[in-house]
Symmetry: C2
Subunit: 436 residues, 2 copies
Amino acid sequence: MRLSRYFLPTLKETPSEAQIVSHRLMLRAGMIRQHAAGIYNWLPLGYRVLRKVEQIVREEQDAAGAQEVLMPTIQSADLWRESGRYDDYGKEMLRITDRHGRDMLYGPTHEEVVTDIFRNNVRSYKNLPANLYQIHWKFRDEVRPRFGVMRGREFLMKDNYSFDLSKEDARKSYNRMFVAYLRTFARMGLKAIPMQADTGPIGGDLSHEFIVLAETGESGVYVDNALLQKPIPENVDYDGDLQPIVDEWTSLFAATDEKYDPEKDEKPAGDVVNARGIEVGHIFYFGTKYSKPMGAVVTGPDGDEVVVHMGSYGIGVSRLLGAIIEASHDDAGIIWPESVAPYTVGLINLKAGDAACTKTCDDLYAALNAAGVEVLYDDRDERAGAKFADMDLIGVPWQVIVGPKGVAAGIAEIKNRKTGERSELPLDAVVSRFAG
Amino acid sequence: MRLSRYFLPTLKETPSEAQIVSHRLMLRAGMIRQHAAGIYNWLPLGYRVLRKVEQIVREEQDAAGAQEVLMPTIQSADLWRESGRYDDYGKEMLRITDRHGRDMLYGPTHEEVVTDIFRNNVRSYKNLPANLYQIHWKFRDEVRPRFGVMRGREFLMKDNYSFDLSKEDARKSYNRMFVAYLRTFARMGLKAIPMQADTGPIGGDLSHEFIVLAETGESGVYVDNALLQKPIPENVDYDGDLQPIVDEWTSLFAATDEKYDPEKDEKPAGDVVNARGIEVGHIFYFGTKYSKPMGAVVTGPDGDEVVVHMGSYGIGVSRLLGAIIEASHDDAGIIWPESVAPYTVGLINLKAGDAACTKTCDDLYAALNAAGVEVLYDDRDERAGAKFADMDLIGVPWQVIVGPKGVAAGIAEIKNRKTGERSELPLDAVVSRFAG
């Protein structure tokens, strides 16, 4: 993409509305703009990153055997009356009346809808386990939305729901998601620690939060240092027994400061360090809480009706962008991990008015594109300083800097955004450096 | 994907709620399930096709220079008061009050939101032309939703909005979308004819509908036969002059029966044939209808403020699935064009109980997957007849049928879903037949 054509309204000033660094940087880098309190427009750069994050979530869900569906944003209130949650759910639920006077709502979560799909379409234990996920927009009418996409009202979530014949089988579904979550966050360059959690309004008796570590995180956490060093499971056999992996991760101490107070509570075993974190995922097993009142039953192996055991699993997809930035930035701007970077290479033409320099850059741009490298090309007629500042702010992992002197010498400068390291590379070696 | 694990609740019986063939087949093939009137759940097979259709739309928008954004579903009513449409828009608009008593709405269209983005972020004519698109869910509270995804309340739409300095430039933006639309629908195996349209409630003085031809289409159309033969533009230079292409397509007669009555109106020139069609896209130029009241201005080349000229362009993405099925089905079920088919190959194991047959099928399935072929593997323990019926219903373009006799002879049967043609192929030639 050529910057001269890109809809990328970067800001030099820090917007006063933003209290935390990810919110400031997303506004300054032209990723988002607020439409109303807690409701955002995603501009091209921001939406590009959001789709990359979404795709990693999708790939790991697919690998773990979940199947993608899409449920509506607008739901009928009737199902929530069946489950008994319609009156319990507070003002966070956006309640709507349609033109025929029917009670509807904008889904804050989808347990009722998916249970309805299940009970209408599955009859036999032979179709279990089932695990349906969606990546879709939800609305929760927060009383005080803030921190940009970290606590918005309209937000993108991956939510899924598992159905099993027994608690034992449900535990296996739970474990698959536990491991998939470890892999998902690691692929985004994040260190996410599972911590035992309260089950809250969704109910149930087995639950973990996944907390991403970031110096500017919203809450304090206490984590066994060994957890921070633990390698992420690779080549997982999701049909195999995952309990050992889960046990390995849950046997070490990890708790939010809501759950552990070093002043009062007993000192946990292990080398526990204090850090800050951001919740990005939450998994629950809740048994028959919805399947029982809503009649989600299958015929079991012996012909009897069995109420299915369910779990639900959430990832805050739009929130993850904020979390990644909180975990990876410096004074100059965002530092994207390559896996979610909007572009891999930022090509900077230091002198747009110079014919030879522009020709070299145009050729490099075409060659990088042809080689499948995602490149953002700053072809604008701007000062070099402004170009450096914008490229640092946007956070593209690699900068390829080309000026008249370099062109004369056949050299481009390569800068690594994260380390700041600079090196020189012959112009004809640039494409092969980044291709494949 | 193994059918034994796939969440694919096909139906033998035709659901009584469905009046048209695409609705019947989408329900029977387990693609969708109704949640409430005009509101659907997309099950794995349906969502898979929806994403393929969406991706074609996206690629052609990108090629034409439009840039992808995402605007919220829930909008503030204030912007609609600025444009003057809040009171004019009827009961189709789903009006909502949030917890603080603010008037909100579920966006039926996004002219106001995008104009607000533009006016807050673009100052100079140098940033024009701009063209922002999104592929997102909209809600229109139809008084009588029907025909499945063809006239739903919650539906997926590609909508975009162009901004130009003058009417002449806006015409160029319009032409880019005109040509992109021709290419988009053709890639889905559809014959879509642009027809001059009323501009309706969005306003403006230049507008075309794109009507897909289908025997079971909702409305009658009259089309010059020469239009049906016209090749789709290839290798389009979207920076070049597209007016000749647009003129070529608009100079021949094409009209819906609302606009042309052969009993009353003068007979048009050309070899005009009568057919049936479905509207899938609509493009408008509407000048300064929104930019003027909302103050979307830029500084022009001579330093004066110029009110920008806008156009908007819609494609009914979820509706397209209905249109494709209306245009491509037979008594046995759906016939997917390869470009949007959920899977390319349906692999049928005729005897799941036979060890040699199952081993051969498992190996073929693994090899096809490894070669990047999208394959749906019917590994269920079912009668051959049921498997044939389901695979025909789902409409996968190619069936690879493997039974004990074939395995003994080293042969698979290949069936083309569209033509019904059958042929035999050595088992070791199956992968190369479909790979790459």
